[in-house]
Symmetry: C2
Subunit: 170 residues, 2 copies
Amino acid sequence: MDLKEKIRDVPDFPKKGILFRDITTLLKDKKSFSFVVEELFKRYNDKDIDIIAGIESRGFIFGSALAYRINKGFVPIRKPGKLPSTTVSEEYSLEYGTDKIEMHVDAIKEGDRVLLIDDLLATGGTMAAACSLIEKAGGKVAECSFLIELAFLNGRDRLKGYDIYSMVTY
Amino acid sequence: MDLKEKIRDVPDFPKKGILFRDITTLLKDKKSFSFVVEELFKRYNDKDIDIIAGIESRGFIFGSALAYRINKGFVPIRKPGKLPSTTVSEEYSLEYGTDKIEMHVDAIKEGDRVLLIDDLLATGGTMAAACSLIEKAGGKVAECSFLIELAFLNGRDRLKGYDIYSMVTY
């Protein structure tokens, strides 16, 4: 299946000059949504993975469906102030300023192999922060998995040392 | 399965005097996560549903897993400014001030029967706004489905005329 046909290109979002890859057109199509989850299932079902973590909020969509499909638990990695119990947090730099993500400190167990899921690999800043979170909490990153990779932004450079997978590359 | 045993009670979050029902402890446990998705599957698999919409962001977690499970598409209903294409939006009142949710205007087709999913029925304001969104876009609300209902907040009063389901009630 050519997933690029199902992804909508929206020019000038979120700002002028940026071509946004909109996955909502893929998600609403049951065949392509199911295809993506099945492809992830094939890739990860036999791998050594204890739990799946998704990054808020589009990472929740494929992360939770895959967690269900391969019968694992699901961990939400969230924006600051959303998680009610004790968290570990990690700051990361944006084009202008910084942002932060958090995870419950007891979300994973010591030594857990965690599959990290997000929809998009752009500059890699959020995923690099997520990898640090997993390690702070005592886990090991099994792989960083994306639906889409914007290869021209060189996000892989920021994720050196981690296994990386993306289903669609621009 | 007693899901209440898997939901963690966190006092004084997000503010003093509120007892927060934390579902992350349920999500990370593969048995209870899978149990919830299977219960939803049993309830909705034979119902007349065209597509599933989840409300950002915890509604994405069960909404997408269920959409995969019953082989439907998934529609994200999001906070303002997140969706790149033309949206319909709906404002709703909070304890102090207002908030807004949005959906792509082409997310559903005229006449689609939409199952709405969120994690929590509290005062019902967000879900009532989501029902309006579906109707503005030409759809019909098949049911409003929640993991947790806080019955003492009387959220059902704000959702009169819609079918409502919740798996766990406090």
